[in-house]
């Protein structure tokens, strides 16, 4: 089944699932209230967005310089940097470290880039135990499914489902208290931290000026992942670079506000190296894996380059009417929602992923929500155009050529109109059956009847 078919089929199923809709709407309404409240703490949210967009523009449009700065400073403090052109190279770099250390267990904090390169599968295939430590990620890992949302991985599940899951997988007693459920996971994961040989993290920002990786989280799981295991590995996309340390004073509150309706996320931590002389703890070695994986192709498209400004806050998903109805898993991609629909065709090929450009009502809610002002809905439109230019289906091409001929010849146009009027009454005999020539349209929509009189005819009667 192609990705497009899978999308359609799953979307059809989920949009009818009222329980799913209720769950998502409630969760996102809560989010909206909090986000609006926190936005009001900004004397001028729009100027903050503009500033954030400009700083990101600077970073991305001088990416080579800033990346080199970042890497030089990281390496100077004893961090080992690996450059990976492809997902496979990134997996190999990480597997190489894991094998060398003869690791037995690995603890991981949330990293969307790891989803992108299917890191857990690769590690598990080699026999390593990888445990997700973010509560939401841990829950979806136990269910053997990908995260539902880039910020709220388990938002599609009720507490009862989670309780059943824990009961089945961990043997814990059933409970309806989110607090008790959280404590069950806390107890299990505590032991994992203490015994893990390797900690793997993602990253939110890479600071060129100081050679630091900044990680944002609420639970403290990334803090522990980077404190206890002897080896730490951080995987990040090359687009995460920002120029200066003080830029964090802008991005951290914006990420928290747009992403989760918080003033600031619980832990914002900047790492500049492995354990330094005289420090009490921390990993003996730190590996940073820089991932390209076709980001440079997106970079080469000036029209959509700003999609690399994304700070993965998830705000565009939260406001998207399509996301809210079809849900995160339907996309079948690591990055879902509007930003996923924009970048996936670039990262994984337009041919197989162009259908995502249609997963939009072009309402522009995403563009308005984006804290770094990415022109999301126009990019979706541009992807539609690119898809047609690259490879329009033969039938579609013929249909438009025919239309062009007819529309250019008044007599043909007149004739077509008459035919339409004559035959439309018979349409209802085949409506929504296999014989319906307009089935693709009528399956989910009404086909409005043709007007009884054209404007031209009406005008003539007025004369």
């Amino acid at each position: 089944m192609t990705a497009a078919h899978q999308f359609l089929e799953q979307a059809r199923r989920i949009t009818r699932d009222l329980r799913h809709r209720g769950l998502i709407q409630t969760a996102l309404r809560k989010y909206e209230v909090k986000r609006d409240e926190k936005k009001r703490a900004f004397p001028d949210w729009e100027s903050a967005r503009q500033a954030a967009a400009e700083v990101k523009w600077d970073a991305i449009n001088h990416l080579d310089t800033y990346l080199e700065d970042f890497v030089t400073r990281l390496e100077a403090r004893g961090t080992r940097v690996h450059w990976a052109s492809t997902a496979a190279e990134a997996r190999d770099a990480i597997l190489g470290v894991v094998r060398d250390r003869k690791a037995k267990s690995i603890i991981k904090s949330k990293a969307m880039t790891a989803e992108e390169i299917h890191l857990n599968d690769a590690l598990e295939k080699e026999g390593y135990e990888v445990v997700e430590s973010d509560l939401g990620e841990y829950i979806v890992q136990l269910r053997h499914e990908p995260p539902y949302h880039i910020v709220f991985p388990a938002m599609h599940l009720t507490r009862d489902e989670i309780s059943d899951l824990f009961h089945r997988e961990l043997g814990s007693a059933q409970t309806r208290e989110p607090e008790e459920l959280t404590m069950i996971a806390r107890r299990v994961l505590r032991q994992k931290y203490i015994t893990a040989d390797i900690g793997i993290t993602g990253a939110n920002f890479a600071v060129a000026e100081t050679g630091m990786v900044s990680i944002t989280e609420n639970e403290g799981n990334a803090r522990l992942t980077s404190a206890l295991p002897r080896t730490m590995i951080t995987l990040l996309g090359i687009e995460k670079v920002i120029p200066a340390l003080e830029d964090l004073a802008l991005f951290l509150p914006m990420l928290a506000t747009a992403g989760a309706g918080q003033t600031l996320t619980g832990y914002n931590t900047m790492y500049s190296g492995p354990r330094q002389p005289g420090e009490a703890d921390g990993p003996e070695e730190w590996h940073v894996v820089l991932l390209d994986n076709r980001r440079t192709e997106l970079l080469a498209d000036p029209e959509q380059r700003d999609a690399l400004h994304c700070i993965r806050c998830g705000a565009c998903l939260n406001v998207c009417p399509i996301f809210r109805n079809v849900g995160g898993h339907t996309y079948g991609t690591a990055y879902s929602g509007p930003i996923g629909s924009v970048i996936t065709p670039h990262l994984r090929g337009l041919k197989d992923w162009k259908h995502l450009s249609g997963a939009s009502s072009l309402c522009g809610a995403c563009t308005e929500a984006c804290p770094v002002k990415i022109d999301l809905h126009h990019h979706l439109l541009q992807n539609r155009r690119n898809a047609v230019m690259e490879d329009a289906p033969l039938l579609e091409r013929l249909a438009y050529q025919l239309f062009a001929v007819v529309a250019n010849h008044p007599t043909l146009w007149q004739f077509a109109k008459e035919m339409g009027r004559t035959f439309q009454p018979f349409h209802r005999w085949v409506l929504r059956t296999k014989l319906d020539p307009a089935k693709a349209w009528t399956a989910t929509r009404d086909l409005p009847p043709m007007a009884e009189m054209s404007f031209k005819e009406w005008w003539r009667t007025r004369q």
């Binding site: 829950i139 505590r190 799981n221 440079t296 080469a300």
Partner: protein, 251 residues
């Protein structure tokens, strides 16, 4: 060619075409709305030397009036810190004297039944630990993780308190390493009034002045107790880190 050269090569190739600056492409987004920014420093001063259009770039933290304010006077800042803390469920308490703080510490120890304390050597913590008189694990220079895990509370100093966000700034060098402030179920911070700064920008500046270029391997803004909303978006404290965060403000 190494992967590094390949990636940098692709980036340079891609950047030969310039991309519009956001908000500067449409007439409906006049950049005149924004306060003036300082000019871009010349190449070599940390900025890149590309011949891309000069745009208003990063103003100093003080010139960012659009970010949430941290307060101007110390009284305003303290008020803001307390308000943020209340919302975050951080317990904040101000003391007239160090002795009063120590007395309250002993009370807390009894109330919560502390059996073991973890801390690091620094003036405020050393005084507090000797006033407490409980078995103490000092993390400085290394410690057994299982012992730290069993401690009832981690007592640390901090580098700054941030009024704007209600955050506590800690580092791996000044506050006993990376785990002390997150592994025990209760994190208690001893701070001085003078450590209160207005906002994140000021806190980062302070850290830079204090440490750059010999940074501690970790600096962290702790904003409230550890939390999660991963189950039905319902707030639960103590997801992985401390369930309780307490800030004692000493004169």
């Amino acid at each position: 060619m190494s992967a590094r050269e390949q990636i940098l090569g692709r980036i340079r190739e891609a950047l030969r075409k310039s991309a519009p600056i956001p908000g500067h492409t449409h007439a409906d987004h006049p950049s005149a709305n924004h306060p003036p920014h300082p000019p871009v420093p010349p190449a070599g001063a940390g900025r890149s030397a590309f011949a891309t259009p000069v745009i208003p770039l990063r103003p100093s933290a003080a010139a960012r009036p659009w970010l949430p304010p941290g307060g101007v006077t110390p009284a305003e800042q303290w008020e803001r810190f307390c308000a943020a803390s209340t919302e975050l469920k951080t317990a904040v308490q101000e003391f007239e004297s160090v002795e009063a703080a120590h007395a309250r510490l002993r009370e807390l120890a009894t109330e919560q039944g502390w059996t073991g304390v973890a801390s690091h050597h620094a003036p405020l913590t050393d005084a507090a630990i000797s006033a407490l008189g409980l078995p103490t694990l000092f993390t400085d220079g290394g410690y057994p993780v299982n012992d730290l895990e069993k401690c009832s509370v981690g007592i640390t100093e901090c580098d700054a308190l941030v009024a704007q966000t209600g955050s506590v700034l800690v580092t791996s060098r000044s506050t006993g390493g990376r785990a002390l402030s997150v592994l025990p179920p209760h994190h208690l911070v001893l701070a001085r009034r003078a450590q209160l700064v207005p906002d994140l920008g000021a806190a980062l500046e302070l850290a830079k002045a204090r440490y750059a270029p010999h940074w501690p391997s970790m600096i962290s803004f702790i904003t409230g107790p550890s939390r999660t909303g991963d189950i039905e978006r319902i707030l639960v404290l103590g997801a992985h880190g401390p369930r309780q965060l307490t800030v004692f403000l000493l004169p």
